[in-house]
């Protein structure tokens, strides 16, 4: 009988610790959203593809390619917040600026929105900045558009992501280079989810 009571009290304490624990959210909780692994893999692939592309090399052989980074277009069913959203484009830029040889091939400029924000932040007006003819004018745009095919039922959710990147000639509209990253993420509801 004493053993029974001790066992019961021990069980009560164990379950009590589990239940009254302030850290209730399971650290192994999962979503079907893009994560840091996708970010690193995707941007590594894109930067490597741009740096080794023969059409891009033909342009950079003549002179540095001046590229404006456009804001990512989110066509998925996941909320991609700033500044996290911008990382998907800016990490490509950072990788292309990592080595001296690449820095000589690619020059990056701010997009219009980021440029206007910076001016406002620093208290500059456009008239403070000198003649427009002296400003660096981008010739290519690096854009990214993410799509997702989401299927949801009562027990599961799956998101098939297609993340596309493009280097586009701003003057002609021609797509000089295009790359993609695809991944499918699926989660199944657990008991009590």
């Amino acid at each position: 009988m004493k053993r029974t009571i001790a066992l019961a009290l021990g069980l009560a304490m164990l379950v009590g610790v589990a239940a009254c624990n302030k850290t209730a959210i399971n650290s192994k909780a999962e979503t079907s959203f893009l994560d840091s692994t996708d970010l690193v893999t995707m941007t590594d692939q894109m930067a490597a593809a741009i740096a080794s592309d023969s059409d891009v090399a033909a342009v950079t052989a003549r002179k540095p390619m001046i590229v404006v980074m456009q804001e990512l277009r989110n066509r998925t069913n996941e909320i991609l917040r700033s500044p996290g959203k911008e990382i998907f484009v800016h990490r490509v830029r950072a990788l292309l600026a990592e080595k001296q040889v690449l820095r000589q091939q690619f020059k990056f400029v701010l997009n219009r929105n980021a440029y206007d924000r910076l001016l406002k932040q620093e208290g500059f007006s456009a008239s403070n900045l000198g003649e427009t003819v002296d400003r660096i004018v981008p010739e290519y745009a690096l854009t990214a558009t993410f799509y997702a095919d989401t299927k949801v039922n009562l027990d599961q959710r799956s998101d098939y992501y297609l993340c596309t990147y493009q280097l586009t000639n701003l003057a002609s509209g021609q797509i000089l280079w295009e790359g993609k990253y695809e991944t499918k993420k699926a989660i199944t509801k657990d008991f009590l989810d």
Partner: protein, 409 residues
């Protein structure tokens, strides 16, 4: 006493001790006092103070993490603290869209003892409302892509039990059908986002679905498509449904009041700078949370708790019968065994209590009022319920202005 009787008594004692312990520990699961104060402040219209009280609670990763962030989001958006609101609802959004949220210990405690040990993720209608707020917050930033994603996530499939299958004695497990969501506010939000991203065909598909659900939305849709519309006023009105336990052991949960008890959602009138800006023949109401709370499609299932209540009741009945037989036949071992079974049954039944946590700061109704206003400052009068609420609105020279306000009564 023979071995089997002893075993039953030991089992009964174990279960009873555990159940009593957690009855006593039930205090750690009741609404904390400071949360209740925060909710009371909200309901008194003191949104900023409510937000300040909720902020430290919303960072604790407890079983109420999502619920506290929803409460915080409500307070912050009503107080005009949009960054705080967005952060809070994003925390809630991440967990709501996650699986394996409860670890093994939580699952065991929720199943064996009290369901409210599990991490609260809300009923489906509460999750839909959380995504609606994320939609508005992104609309206010002009981020139509993220707003569309938020509204899309509010439109997940619902379940409903097929009535004929409930009565089917051969049915095994839970039988249900999947339904497309009838959250018309989600379809309206998506339609509006597609208009702003120049995708009229996709917008039309969303508006068509909204109209199928509620033909009274035709006026709102017409104005959303009107190029002169440059402002949308969202009004959260009234107090949402309350949740309570039901059944002999409170194994079911029930929301109230019903729309029948509360009366219909009142009409809204809006005036701008003293002149009427709404059409009295048009409906601007998109959502009635009282109706959603009564619709089984918007509820999670009670099967676990009902099953436990049934098992417990059955065990008590069997145990009582066995004990009575033992007494009648003079067999003390049988009588004690029956007592043990009855105690086990009582403990199981007592642990089948429903989780009655709910999001107290939801509105009853959400109104969506498209407006066409010249750029600059305006006084906007909102007339619904008791009295008039006047807010000052600044309409931007370009783009659409999204205005949110909360009217409690």
């Amino acid at each position: 006493m023979n071995k089997s009787t002893s075993s039953w008594l030991h089992a009964a004692l174990c279960t009873t001790v555990v159940a009593v312990m957690f009855g006593l520990l039930g205090g750690c699961q009741s609404t904390p006092k400071d949360i209740q104060i925060a909710v009371d402040l909200y309901k008194a219209g003191n949104y900023h103070q409510s937000m300040l009280r909720l902020q430290p609670k919303a960072v604790e990763k407890s079983e109420d993490f999502v619920l506290n962030n929803c409460r915080l989001g409500s307070s912050a958006i009503a107080a005009g603290q949009l960054d705080v609101a967005e952060n809070a609802f994003m925390e809630a959004y991440t967990i709501m869209n996650s699986v394996k949220v409860n670890d093994g210990g939580r699952k065991m405690a929720s199943t064996l003892l009290m369901e409210n040990f599990k991490v609260w993720k809300g009923e489906p209608f509460e999750r839909a409302m959380a995504h609606y707020y994320l939609g508005i917050l992104n609309l206010k930033k002009g981020d139509y892509e993220n707003a569309r994603a938020a509204f899309q996530n509010s439109l997940f499939k619902l379940r409903d039990y097929a009535e004929e299958e409930k009565a089917d004695k051969k049915a095994e497990g839970d039988k249900y059908k999947e339904f497309e969501s009838n959250f018309s506010l989600g379809y309206l939000g998506m339609g509006y986002c597609y208009i702003k991203t120049n995708e009229p065909d996709l917008a039309e598909a969303q508006f068509k679905r909204a109209l199928e659900l509620d033909p009274n939305l035709s006026g709102i849709i017409k104005r959303l498509k009107d190029k002169r519309t440059n402002a949308i006023l969202f009004v959260d009105f009234g107090v949402g449904p309350e949740k309570a336990g039901k059944g002999w052991y409170n194994e079911e949960s029930v929301y109230g009041p019903t729309p029948g008890e509360a009366g219909p959602v009142p009409q809204i009138q809006v005036g701008v700078n003293g002149k009427p800006a709404t059409d009295p023949t048009m409906s601007y109401s998109t959502t009635d949370t009282y109706a959603m709370a009564q619709d089984k499609k918007w509820m999670d299932i009670d099967t676990i708790r009902k099953t436990k209540a049934a098992i417990g009741t059955g065990a008590m009945a069997v145990g009582t019968g066995v004990a009575a037989y033992g007494i009648q036949s003079g067999d003390s071992n049988v009588a004690l065994a029956g007592l043990g079974i009855a105690l086990v049954g009582a403990a199981i039944s007592a642990s089948s209590q429903a989780d009655i946590r709910y999001w107290e700061t939801l509105p009853r109704a959400v109104y969506m009022v498209p407006l066409s206003l010249p750029p600059g400052a305006h006084n906007v009068d909102i007339i619904v319920g008791i009295g008039t609420q006047t807010i000052k609105v600044d309409v931007a020279p370009q783009g659409d202005s999204i205005i949110y306000t909360r009217k409690l009564q």
